[in-house]
């Protein structure tokens, strides 16, 4: 039926031990595609290429696993790569890694599509006199750079924040070849670090480690810690651990726009833009007045003065948050044994962020959270320095620099155009880019030396003390690329660096130090091998942080509301632009990955587009409806994007996700227009990039834009009384006891059956989804795309409702803007025991197998589509078209799962191939499959372990215990008696 893509056997090499000197992978790849490309011809004539040299540890047909570290953001999650015949097929979280402990976010999963991106730069390029890039050899490229660094012109190297050995190498190399190194990323945490240092002591200049699992109450000023903030997998996991416990953490979220984190909070305090500081101060004052004054006396006096003018009523009026909500937040904080107050996210990136962070830090100190929920030993250093970058730009503009090296961080896209970086880069004599894509920045380069992706290169990452995480290559480079470290070593001049022929050697040299510091008995080679297997070296930091006593903290005395730029705004506009980082594209780096573009945003359910969230009232005043094109403009730029009208943003806020609007970067990124949101942001004197800082005008533009929204049908986000995603309220009811007449349907209600229920002799696979732990992050959706070769269909076909996702993250919004009732529910095939889809298939293409699963046999399917009609959960997807993947993306296809042709139905299989694999292993060992041995891709991916999979026949398995939980229910079962194998546990929320 369809290609496994690579039927070639074995171009495996032992990556861990042999390094990167590998034979021509590309050549074999070429042969592979040749056999698959001739689809119409007789595919039966195939060639097998055996390995030339064998390796007993690499068996063709069996996967090899490599531990590594995710480099998609700075969180430093551990990952495992699953490789078949030398190509990486799956990325999964590493369960031994202390940061993510097995889960991985959607962007982490999509790293594969960055790696197999067809738009990657495939060999070194040089811009000719006509401005067209021409391929050159690596040797020529190196010699050109060596020439450029031979003289004493001023040179700079602009990268994203680096870590570990590469950071050290870049530092050494910069000194070596006289280059100044600058690190920059748009969404940095510099203000948080600064405030931490100011309040807790100068040595703590960094982001402390937060433990959400220990906090009873969290007051959060806009930090999207379940989405992209600092280390979302880690925080989600901690948060979920608490949410699943007997005493779940109560979250107050203060922000002007409902983020995914806000949707998961118990209390959402929608405030006016820029008033978070006021609320924080009011809370601090309230706490002080409640006797929480765990501060030096001098500081207390200072605070008393600065908080003198703050009264709850004034704050409530200015921020549009009800005063009792603020008081209640303060009260809950005061009563809680442990708590946590944080601020961050896009909505905090105003011109008073520093003050806000200081107040938050003070509240934490007042409440005694340091040492409890805030761990200063595990400090994340903030390396991005926008102040320095700004001065660099200024100096380039003053023609002080002649050479700029830049990595793949694409600063031209993320630095707002008002900072004039675009002008500056044109003034340079030589711009060398190490980017792997022809993005906005590398388009301006004279020379591109494509760096290998992190799946192809060596490295390490030290997010905070005690975690040294290794990055190792899991396959040979897809294209003719070289790792950044290797390139720098090649370009170095000093003997010190020249002694390392490869970056791997350099890395090992650095790890000698870690080995020495670890104090383990084993020798280095053993330590190194163990670390490679484990994914790094992990230890608890021993020291105990001592809080120093700050003598003074700058806390502005006035009622400080953030101010917003309104340069040349024609009519007096109160509207403020809120650019925020989305779980889809983050700051723009994930924009050229079809999985991420096709992933519906959890809050708006929009895919493949940029959109503007506009408040219902504001939209009504301008006669704007969802789907209308709107023009958002200020002095600096304009956006033309479709509107998404919602109650969940403040009337004065227009929220637009960051990351799309690329002019270059690749076919998928540039297919999403609308404009670059960064370019709307005015330059200012601040030392960090303020995102939430400008007023805009809003106009209805001509025309409509058909948005690919998976839930855009009227009323499709209201579940009413259908009880699809259920919520129990903690204070009103004991969890489990449900209100009104639905009690009968609860729990273990067994309806009368017409037919004798089937007994499954060996296994009965089932799943439990704990909605209390599900954040809606959609990692499972992307993991499913990767595992099951699900095609991405593109915007046009998606607007027709033909997306292929096997796992739909449903979002219901039954409340009002005051009383939020947002529920997320990951819905996959429910594998019903009384499946309505099965008896209607005329050819047994779908049936019930011995293991209690609803099986779909693709090659038996005729395509009557009756099953999809009769599926009450609407989980079946039909292949309306045959989707082709551009080379080399087909290398990602999982050989365990067939690719479906057009005209065939498909659906979630509970990753039946993984079950088969586990049974295979169990059979070899003469035992049954153990609990937890099989984990479908979605279960494996879940950062919060909201999904649990296992054998329902085994009374001791986790899944069968959870299925009997008080909160357990099955969707629609009490209406339709479908007997699903998937149980859900009620979401838990505190009643407002």
């Amino acid at each position: 039926m369809q290609k496994k893509s690579l039927t070639i056997l074995g171009q495996n090499d032992n990556v861990a031990s042999e390094g990167l000197s590998r034979r021509s992978f590309l050549k074999v790849l070429g042969a592979a595609t040749a056999t698959t490309a001739v689809a119409c011809a007789d595919k039966a004539d195939q060639i097998i290429y055996p390995n030339v040299k064998g390796d007993a540890t690499q068996i063709p047909g069996l996967p090899s696993w490599y531990s590594s570290t995710c480099t998609q953001c700075d969180a430093g999650c551990g990952v495992n790569y699953k490789t078949y015949e030398g190509r990486v097929v799956i990325v999964e979280g590493n369960k031994d890694h202390p940061i993510n402990k097995g889960g991985l976010c959607a962007i982490g999963h999509s790293a594969l599509q960055d790696h197999y991106d067809p738009d990657r730069v495939r060999q070194p390029l040089e811009k000719d006199s006509n401005g067209v890039f021409q391929p050159i050899t690596w040797k020529a490229a190196y010699s050109k750079i060596k020439q450029a660094i031979a003289d004493d012109s001023k040179r700079a190297f602009l990268t994203r924040p680096l870590s570990g050995s590469l950071e050290k190498l870049v530092g050494e190399w910069s000194t070596d070849v006289a280059v100044e190194h600058y690190a920059y990323e748009p969404l940095d945490y510099a203000q948080l670090a600064k405030a931490t240092a100011a309040v807790y002591g100068a040595e703590y200049d960094g982001v402390p480690h937060y433990d959400f699992s220990k906090a009873e109450v969290v007051l959060n000023f806009g930090a999207d810690f379940l989405e992209t903030w600092i280390s979302p997998c880690e925080y989600s996991r901690d948060w979920a651990k608490s949410r699943k416990s007997k005493k779940p953490v109560r979250v107050f979220q203060v922000e002007p726009r409902l983020s995914l984190t806000g949707a998961n909070a118990d209390h959402h305090l929608k405030c006016k833009p820029g008033t978070e500081l006021l609320i924080a101060k009011a809370v601090l004052k309230e706490l002080l007045s409640r006797g929480k004054n765990n501060l030096p006396a001098s500081l207390l006096g200072e605070l008393e003065v600065s908080l003198a003018e703050i009264t709850i009523d004034v704050v409530a009026k200015l921020s549009n948050v009800k005063s009792e909500k603020i008081v209640s937040a303060a009260q809950r904080l005061a009563e809680a044994k442990t708590s946590l107050v944080i601020a961050g996210g896009a909505s905090a990136k105003t011109n008073n962020e520093y003050e806000l962070q200081v107040i938050c830090a003070l509240i934490n100190r007042v409440l005694g959270n340091v040492g409890q929920t805030i761990n200063l030993d595990r400090l994340r250093k903030v390396k991005s320095d926008f102040q320095k970058v700004k001065s660099l730009i200024a100096e380039i503009n003053d023609n002080k620099y002649s050479v700029l090296f830049v990595d793949g961080s694409n600063p031209l896209f993320t630095i707002p155009s008002d900072y004039k970086f675009g002008l500056a880069i044109k003034k340079l004599d030589l711009v060398v880019s190490f980017a792997s894509h022809l993005d906005e920045t590398s388009k301006e380069a004279h020379l591109i030396l494509p760096a290998s992706s992190s799946i192809e290169s060596w490295g390490d990452h030290q997010p905070y003390a005690g975690v040294s995480s290794l990055v190792q290559p899991a396959m040979t480079p897809v294209f003719d690329t070289v790792g950044l470290g290797d390139m720098l070593l090649k370009l170095s001049r000093s003997e010190e660096l020249k002694k390392f022929s490869e970056f791997q050697d350099y890395l090992k040299a650095q790890w000698q130090t870690i080995h020495a510091g670890a104090g383990v008995a084993e020798n280095f080679e053993t330590f190194w091998k163990k670390s490679l297997e484990r994914g790094g070296y992990f230890a608890d930091p021993i020291s105990v942080a001592q809080l120093s006593i700050p003598t003074s903290v700058i806390v502005t005395a006035k009622l400080d509301i953030a101010s917003f730029d309104s340069t040349k705004i024609q009519q007096k506009s109160e509207l403020v632009l809120l650019p925020y980082a989305s779980v889809k594209t983050f700051d723009g780096r994930a924009a050229n990955r079809p999985w991420m573009q096709e992933l519906p945003d959890p809050i708006t359910k929009i895919a493949w587009d940029t959109w503007a969230e506009i408040n219902t009232k504001t939209a009504a005043a301008k006669k704007i409806k969802t789907g209308d094109l709107v023009k958002i403009s200020n002095y600096y730029g304009e956006l033309q994007v479709p509107a998404y009208v919602t109650d969940h943003v403040d009337e004065n806020v227009i929220a637009v996700p960051l990351g799309n609007g690329h002019s270059d970067f690749g076919r998928y990124a540039s297919s999403v227009g609308g404009g670059n949101v960064y370019n709307m942001i005015p330059s200012d004197k601040a030392d960090h990039l303020q995102l939430f800082t400008t007023h805009v005008e809003l106009k209805r533009a001509l025309g409509k834009h058909k948005v690919a929204n998976t839930q855009d049908v009227k009323d499709s986000d209201k579940q009413g009384k259908r009880e699809i995603a259920r919520t129990s309220y903690i204070e009103t009811k004991v969890p489990g006891a449900h209100d009104d007449h639905h009690d009968d349907h609860h729990g273990h209600h067994e309806p009368a059956q017409m037919y004798e229920q089937r007994i499954h002799p060996l296994y009965q696979w089932g799943m439990v989804v704990d909605l209390a732990a599900c954040t809606g992050c959609s990692a499972c959706v992307t993991a499913c795309y990767a595992e099951n070769n699900i095609p991405t269909v593109g915007r046009k076909i998606m607007t027709e409702g033909r997306e292929m996702s096997w796992l739909r993250l449903e979002r219901y919004d039954d409340g009002t803007s005051e009383d939020l009732q947002i529920s997320f529910i990951p819905a996959m095939c429910q594998h019903c025991q009384n499946a309505p889809c099965e008896p209607v298939c005329p050819v047994y293409a779908t049936y019930h197998n011995e293991d209690g699963m609803n099986v779909m046999v693709y090659n038996r399917c005729v395509g009557t589509r009756y099953c999809a009609n009769n599926c009450v959960y609407k989980q079946r997807r039909f292949n309306w078209y045959e989707y082709e993947l551009p080379e080399p993306m087909e290398m990602q296809l999982n050989p365990e799962v067939m690719k479906r042709t057009a005209g065939v139905m498909e659906k979630c299989s509970f990753c039946v191939h993984r079950i088969k694999d586990a049974k295979d292993h169990a059979k070899d060992e003469g035992r049954l499959v153990a609990d937890g041995e099989v984990q479908p891709a979605c279960v494996k991916s879940c950062p919060t372990e909201a999904l649990v999979f296992g054998d329902l026949n085994d009374p001791n398995s986790r899944v069968s215990k959870l299925a009997k939980h008080d909160r357990a229910y099955k969707i629609l079962d009490h209406h339709l008696n479908t007997q699903p194998s998937v149980s859900y546990l009620d979401n838990l929320k505190y009643k407002a």
């Binding site: 039926m1 290429y49 069996l62 046999v857 059979k923």
Partner: protein, 220 residues
Amino acid sequence: MLGLISSKFLRNNRYYPFALLVILLCSTFVGNSFAEDAAGYQSVGKRAGVWNDGQAALWDLNIIDHFHYFGPVARARGHKPQQPIKFSHVTHVQKNKMECQFCHWTSAKSPYAAIPEVQNCMGCHSLIGGTTPEQQAEITKIKEYYTKGEPIPWAKVHVMPDYVKFNHKRHVKAGVGCQECHGQIQEMDEVERVSSMKMGWCIDCHRERGANIDCTVCHH
């Protein structure tokens, strides 16, 4: 319009077949022009399935198995592709009494019974140069591949459709002999496909031995 209909051309019966043909072509064109809409989609390709599956449809009948006129020839019995090296199982297995798993060493470990690595061949052939000139010539070829570091492009004899997942390991461990599927391979100078390897053939054996006949055993 009326004028056209009443024109002499249409009144003359002789031209009706011709007119019919023209209309037929035009209509197909109109139909196809709708199709261009779909062709404009980024990732949509023409369906490969129509022709291949259409051929395969006939294979449902047992009798087709014995003819080579329908469907891919390489999937029929007796398929004997030309190999880059004249490897003889007779020499290796029958004469020199080598075990199958000496070369196909992954067959009990992996779903794939891999073709041996070139290095594996060289393990013996660095010492054994062959007795006849033909053998020597063939062995020299192996050496050439090995020194160049290139894999030998063996032609696949037993090609299964992509929707079938066959696991060698399970079969070998269950004690199914190589010959049961591959025929008397030790007597083959050139490997040829002996079994039809169609689904009914698999199922017959599975039923006989009481092996699992759940669909997911092979299809997922």
